[in-house]
Every structure is written in structure tokens, then in C-alpha cells.
């Protein structure tokens, strides 16, 4: 069952490029009984250092929680470099699928896979995962708070984000870091703002997506994916 969704994305991408509908892939997803699908997430070393595993295979893992996300996730491993200890915590909930025990107590390179977490996907996550193939994700340049620029916000307020077209070079967002406001210029493909992943006043980690943008011609495919997943999710949970 290793990362079924990822395989599906790959298939979607290949077939999309040949002009084939995603309908069959979605049918495959829903007909194989993956109605509560999951994603296998590899946990990697954040930097070089000596690691101590804090979990074993089968252990349950919790994501950050609380109204303000103040309750940290489960500690996954400890890493020490030059007497600098760090406890690395989970961003997702799930179950530990595999722990690379051979690295326990050893010095590892940055990016080494230390464990794998089996994370159950919610309906919204399934949709977002499927959209990864169709949307361009514009990432946060720095860990900070973000809000739409005045012009974009005005258009969003008037018509909603999904009719706002943006193109490379547009000042789309403002980044607020330590009370320093800086414009953020869009550098992806021209399209409409389909998904918004930030909330005003909530810190977004560097590299996390801020918005998902898609070209006008892909909009019908996206709507089809969303409708299909929603309908089948509802049917399966009745």
C-alpha cells in the first residue's frame, strides 16, 4: 500500500499529458476501497548530527494541536550538533510505520530518512494531494505572516479568489516579519488563485505553500476532481 496516492498522481500526470481524463484514475482510487487513504511520510534529518530515536514502529504520533497550535506534536527524534540539542516534533498525526534503528545513536547527514509515518488523509487532504498535479504551489519565502496585497485583497473581497488572475511579477502578497512589511512578487505560471493556504496573522513556515494557482483551462478538471472526491466520500461515509 506504499503511497498509493503518489502513484495515482504520477498516473494522472502521464495521462493528462496525453489528454486523457482523470475520471478513470479517480474511479480506480474509489473502487479499490481507498476511501480512507493515507500518505507515507518520510521523516528526514533536519541537519547533520547525532540522532536518538524517540519512537518505535507502531507508536502513535500526534500533530500540533490547540486553538493556536500551541500544543507541540509528538517528539520523533533528538538531534545534536556541536552541543546544540534539538527535539524534532511531528507535524502530522499517524502511526510510525518504520524506524531506521540502524541510525539510532549514530551521526547522520542532513536529509537522511530516519523513520516513516503512515498519515491518514482527510477528505480535504485527498483533494489537495490530487490538486498537486494541477496547481502551481507558490511557497512562503520566509517563516512569517502573510496577507494579500491591497490590490489583490480588493479583488478577492469583490469577486472571490478564484476569479483573480495573477501573473509573474505581480505583487500578490505582503510578508510581515517582526513588524517589517515586505512585498512578495509572484513568480509562477499565469493563472487564477484557486487555493489559499494562509490565514492572516498565522505564521507560515518557510517553503510551505501560500497559494495554489492554476491556468484557466485546467479549472474544469479541478472542479471535476473536487466534485468526484466529495461525492464519493459522502457516499462511502453514509
Amino acid at each position: 500500500m506504499k503511497n498509493f496516492i503518489s502513484k495515482l498522481f504520477k498516473k494522472n500526470r502521464e495521462e493528462e499529458s496525453h489528454g486523457i481524463s482523470t475520471e478513470r484514475d479517480l474511479e480506480e482510487l474509489l473502487n479499490t476501497g481507498v476511501l480512507a487513504p493515507f500518505e507515507c511520510i518520510d521523516v528526514q534529518a533536519v541537519h547533520t548530527g547525532r540522532v536518538v530515536m524517540k519512537l518505535a514502529a507502531g507508536d502513535e504520533v500526534f500533530a500540533p494541536s490547540g486553538e493556536w497550535m500551541q500544543v507541540p506534536g509528538t517528539v520523533l527524534y533528538e538531534i545534536t550538533r556541536e552541543r546544540n540539542h534539538k527535539l524534532i516534533k511531528a507535524h502530522y498525526n499517524g502511526t510510525v510505520e518504520k524506524v531506521h534503528t540502524e541510525f539510532d545513536g549514530q551521526f547522520v547527514e542532513a536529509g537522511e530518512t530516519l523513520m516513516t509515518i503512515k498519515h491518514p488523509l482527510k477528505k480535504k487532504e485527498v483533494i489537495e494531494q490530487l490538486l498537486k498535479d494541477v496547481l502551481f504551489f507558490f511557497p512562503a519565502p520566509e517563516t512569517a505572516s502573510y496577507f494579500f496585497s491591497v490590490d489583490v485583497q480588493r479583488q478577492v473581497d469583490r469577486k472571490g479568489a478564484r476569479v483573480v488572475t495573477i501573473e509573474p511579477g505581480d505583487e500578490v502578497l505582503t510578508m510581515s516579519l517582526m513588524k517589517r512589511d515586505a512585498p512578495v512578487y509572484y513568480d509562477g505560471e499565469k493563472g487564477v488563485i484557486h487555493s489559499v493556504y494562509f490565514k492572516q496573522g498565522v505564521t507560515v513556515e518557510r517553503g510551505e505553500p501560500l497559494i495554489g494557482v492554476c491556468s484557466h483551462d485546467k479549472l474544469p478538471v479541478i472542479e471535476k476532481i473536487i466534485t468526484k472526491v466529495r461525492a464519493d466520500w459522502y457516499r462511502s461515509n453514509r
Binding site: 486553538e67 500551541q70 516579519l177 517589517r180
Partner: protein
């Protein structure tokens, strides 16, 4: 006749005199050299609609005419007719205050840029204390308060000019000096230096001292970045950023019970106790359930 008109030479003289008072362990001369660009050009106006808007237009017209914009240029106005604070807040800027902005051609690394707001708050608080107001303090990030009332506020905005895409930082400042009459909604919330000291202040002299401190603190930003790039330890105690150390000495935020919000006035989010500041200036907050959270944006009000 323009009232607030300090000179570049005056600013430089104060900077060079101030820097001699630094402890010998600080590389004071280097810091001074790094920061000398602040106030190298000063433009004083009787009135402007908004100093930062004027600064942006000046950047554009300078670059369009094929010239290089002088980094560190300071734009001052005796009064601002359309001044505003953060978000949609109004800012009262009549004759008697220090109103303006400093334009910095951004040559700092991203990790240093986030300390710019600290530099301007520290500079103002240092000058105010130099005038004898020992109980002035900085509230995270850079509001300067005296006895709980706001004496000064700052806006820091990045701007990318459209011709070549060069990035500038506009450091806007509003300091209540001789303007002791405030709109009714600010009564008890704002205060002017003349009311605390019970005397009129020489505006140009105060501004020259403020700009000299700003030059010194921008010098520290470059100096610390230089240390980091050379792989050396930062100059503050226990290797912390020197500017952060100065901020901690001037601030009363740590230990306070606060209300936090991105826009705390119109949308407060939660109550917490400030338990510290992290190495990059983030605010460490302990929520009522005992868990800790670090905020890198937003603002606080003491409760």
C-alpha cells in the same frame, strides 16, 4: 521656515562622539564606519502628505533619471497631512513632532533584515533615556513607551523600485516631542517628551541625536552580519546579536502578561505571558494552558 532641520555633519559628529563611549570590547570604529551612511543626505520639509510615499516617489524618479539613490537618505517634515499607522490606524502628526523616514538600499542578508525594526526602536529609546527619561522602555517590537503611554511608533516597509528591481527598506518614524495636544481618542494612550520633561525640546537637536543612534544601530546590523559571515561569534553576551542584547536592556516586555494579535487592536487573538525572546527576535509566549509558542509577527498590548 522649517523647524526640524538637522545637518548630516551634525549627525556624524554625534555618532563619532557617541561611539567613543562604547566598551572597548566592541569594535566601535567598524560599527561607526558601517553606519555612517544613515543621514548622509537629509531633506527637511515644512509639510508633506506622507513621508514614506514621498520616499517611494523620490526613489522612482531618481532611478528613472539614471542616478543612484543615496542609501541612508532621511526625509523629514514638520507636519504630515495624511499620516497613518499600521493597518488602517490613524497617526496624528502635527507641528512639534519628529516625523519622517530613512531610506535604506537593502544590502543586508534576510536574517539581518528582520532586526531593522529592533534597530529603530532601540535608537529612539536610547535617545529618550539620554534626555533623562530613565523609565522609557521598548515594547516588542519597537513601540517606545513612557509610563505606559506611547511616545513613538515606527513603520518598516520594503519597497522594490520598478526600473531595476532594487530593494529598499523605508524606516518610518513618528516621535511625539513638542506636540502635547492629542485627539480625544489618544488621551491617556499617547504622550509627548515635552510633557514628561516639562520643557520645550530643540527638535533639530533631538532628531540629530536620534539619527546618530540609528546610524550606530544600523552599523551594528552590518557588523554582526559581518561576524556571522566570517564564522565568528556575535558580539552580544553569550554570543547573542548585539542589537538584541541592547533591546533586552531597554525593553520591559519579557515577564509581562499580554494580549497578542496580528492586529491586536481590532482582532486580539490570545492572552499569554512573555517568557523570553529567541535568538532571531521572536517573542516566546506561554499560553494559559502552559504551552509555549513563538511569534515572529503581530503585536502585543500589556494587560
Amino acid at each position: 521656515m522649517v523647524e526640524n532641520c538637522p545637518t548630516s555633519k551634525g549627525v556624524l559628529d554625534i555618532l563619532q562622539a557617541d561611539i567613543k563611549l562604547y566598551p572597548p570590547l566592541y569594535e566601535a570604529e567598524k560599527i561607526c564606519q558601517f553606519g555612517e551612511f544613515v543621514g548622509s543626505v537629509i531633506e527637511s520639509h515644512k509639510t508633506l502628505p506622507r513621508a514614506m510615499e514621498y520616499g517611494r516617489n523620490l526613489i522612482n524618479s531618481t532611478v528613472e533619471s539614471g542616478k543612484s539613490f543615496p542609501s541612508g537618505m532621511v526625509i523629514l517634515a514638520d507636519s504630515l497631512s495624511q499620516s497613518k499607522g499600521r493597518f488602517t490606524r490613524s497617526w496624528h502628526a502635527p507641528i512639534g513632532g519628529v516625523w519622517g523616514c530613512m531610506v535604506h538600499a537593502n544590502t543586508l542578508q534576510p536574517q539581518s533584515r528582520s532586526f531593522i525594526p529592533f534597530a529603530v526602536g532601540v535608537s529612539c529609546c536610547e535617545v529618550v533615556r539620554g534626555y533623562g527619561v530613565a523609565d522609557s522602555s521598548v515594547r516588542w517590537v519597537n513601540d517606545v513607551l513612557v509610563r505606559g503611554m506611547k511616545l513613538a511608533g515606527f513603520l518598516v516597509e520594503a519597497y522594490t523600485e520598478p526600473t531595476y528591481g532594487e530593494e529598499f527598506t523605508l524606516v518610518g518614524f513618528g516621535i511625539n516631542i513638542n506636540n502635547s495636544v492629542f485627539p480625544a481618542e489618544l488621551n491617556g494612550l499617547a504622550v509627548a517628551l515635552c510633557d514628561i520633561l516639562q520643557k520645550k525640546i530643540d527638535l533639530s537637536q533631538f532628531t540629530a541625536h536620534f539619527l546618530a543612534k540609528l546610524a550606530c544601530n544600523f552599523g551594528i546590523l552590518y557588523h554582526e552580519e559581518n561576524c556571522e559571515l566570517r564564522g565568528e561569534s556575535l558580539s552580544g553576551k553569550d554570543g547573542v546579536h548585539l542589537l538584541l542584547e541592547k533591546w533586552l536592556n531597554l525593553s520591559d516586555t519579557v515577564g509581562q502578561n499580554v494580549l497578542y494579535g496580528f492586529d491586536v487592536m481590532s482582532a486580539p487573538q490570545y492572552r499569554a505571558k512573555v517568557v523570553g525572546i529567541d535568538d532571531s527576535g521572536g517573542l516566546r509566549l506561554q499560553l494559559e494552558d502552559g504551552f509555549e509558542k513563538i511569534e515572529y509577527s503581530g503585536e502585543v498590548r500589556y494587560i
